[in-house]
């Protein structure tokens, strides 16, 4: 049995959800450190969307992106020998 199969499910879930959560949090902070939401989305900001909404939505979008990347990493880490099964 290959090692990847023996990794507990929780570890695999964590390997997808957790690094993506951390990196998207850092990315979000760095992004809004440089730009204010009003500069990036002037029309939306003018229509009364709150900064809290910008930060939250950006974070969730980034998380979804990095999460997809983590998922793909896990997918490609599957041993090639199993592709023939």
């Amino acid at each position: 049995m290959s090692e990847i199969e023996e990794i507990p499910k929780i570890q695999r879930v964590v390997a997808v959800l957790w690094p993506s959560f951390l990196t998207s949090g850092v990315a979000m902070i760095l992004f809004y450190w440089v730009f204010s939401p009003g500069e990036v989305f002037p029309e939306l900001a003018a229509s009364g969307v709150s900064n809290m909404a910008f930060y939250s939505a950006t974070f969730l979008f980034l998380w979804l992106t990095t999460l997809t990347s983590c998922l793909l990493s896990c997918y490609f880490l599957r041993p090639c020998s199993r592709c023939n099964d």
Binding site: I7, I10, S50, N51, M52, S56
Partner: protein
Amino acid sequence: MSEKASKPVKPVQDSLYAKREEIYPREVHGIFASWRVAMVFLTLGLYYILPWINWGEGRQALLFDLPNRKFNIFMMTLWPQDLIYLSALLIISALGLFLFTSVGGRLWCGYACPQTVWTEVFLWIERKIEGGRPQRMKLAKSPWNLNKVIKKGGKHLVWIAFSLWTGFTFVGYFSPIRELAVDFINWDLGPWETFWIFFYAFATYGNAGWLREQVCIYMCPYARFQSVMFDDNTLIISYDEMRGNPRGARKRGKEKPADKGDCIDCGLCVQACPTGIDIRDGLQYQCIACAACIDACDDVMEKMDYPKGLIRYTTLNEAKGKGLHIFRPRVFVYSAILFGLVVGMVWSLATRVPVGVDISRDRNILYREAPNGDLENVFTIKIMNQDDKAHNFVISIDGMPGAVLDPDEPETHVESGEIGETLIRIRAAEDIIKDRSTTITLRVTASDDEKLTDDEDTRFIAPADWFQK
């Protein structure tokens, strides 16, 4: 110890790859358990109380006011431009962690990590409702009946309520907590506040209630690399094999059997372990250095009339008989760097002037002739007001005697946290221009507080052909 030991005890976390078995840590009492309880009160006490403290009238002492992009930290107001301080704080924390780890091993894990302190609270709730380790194991094995539903359901209800309070407090660091409390009571919260309260509550409930030691094993980056900060003089929790082995059961009060060591193999150290390992197998990555096994074992040693410390804080060198060396070059170097950084940061914060100026030259024309025949340079001045109230800023010039500003005494009103922009012209008569490029200093000072001042150098440019003779 009120709970009766049962034998034999197999370490639960036998293999990293085995299916996880539920761990029911036995409650222990002792010096290290008391330290942990004290740290729970200190850390969580601060966490839940700090956002309610005001500094000055109506100003929350600790508020990371994301909507307005400013951070209240007691008497200071920091802005996104001050992120350097946050970075410095992170570096200081990391270095502090290096220092503590090299001296005392995983002290952070055992006493101060949020995962540990919240798990401690969740375990306390579990114990109060479901009982001690044997009762909890029995309840888990028993078929579903009214008693089990009440106990398990009650536990989860209390956990959820506590988690919601935790989530609410968390959001209270980012959105004024008193307003948040009123909105919460009237159930009039904004959608994102609601989302984050539930998100953080869910994370707390999941991590401290369900995942527990798995967070340390699978999620914690520090746990993975902490061992590289260890050396032979780092304090670790260790079982004294020389003294303890061979292990074996014996009658209490009788003479110690000649063929046995001091370990009576009661298994209490394993039962007490929140990560389910057997410390007698040596130092392991799963050990969070909570010292519950020390407390459990000391208790047993006392009852057996054996000396305490069969499991104790020791170093590899001490175990080898080379003595305890806490103060060593590594510790001094870490301490010195840490001290330097802390002093630097405190000094920088204490002398921080909350105004910033940025000068840019008119890109289109380097110089031009003014109507009266003087030479003129045009600049755009950006004034960043990082103070927590609005000010009028006056601009003055230095470094070129005789040069004048137009407008005369330019004054710019800038709101708190805003950046004001103004255009100024600097004029100089031909006879006072001594060089093609003259360094001048533009100073910006608040009209009502001369300590609020900042300056920046720029250059006054004259035509090159004036100086080519």
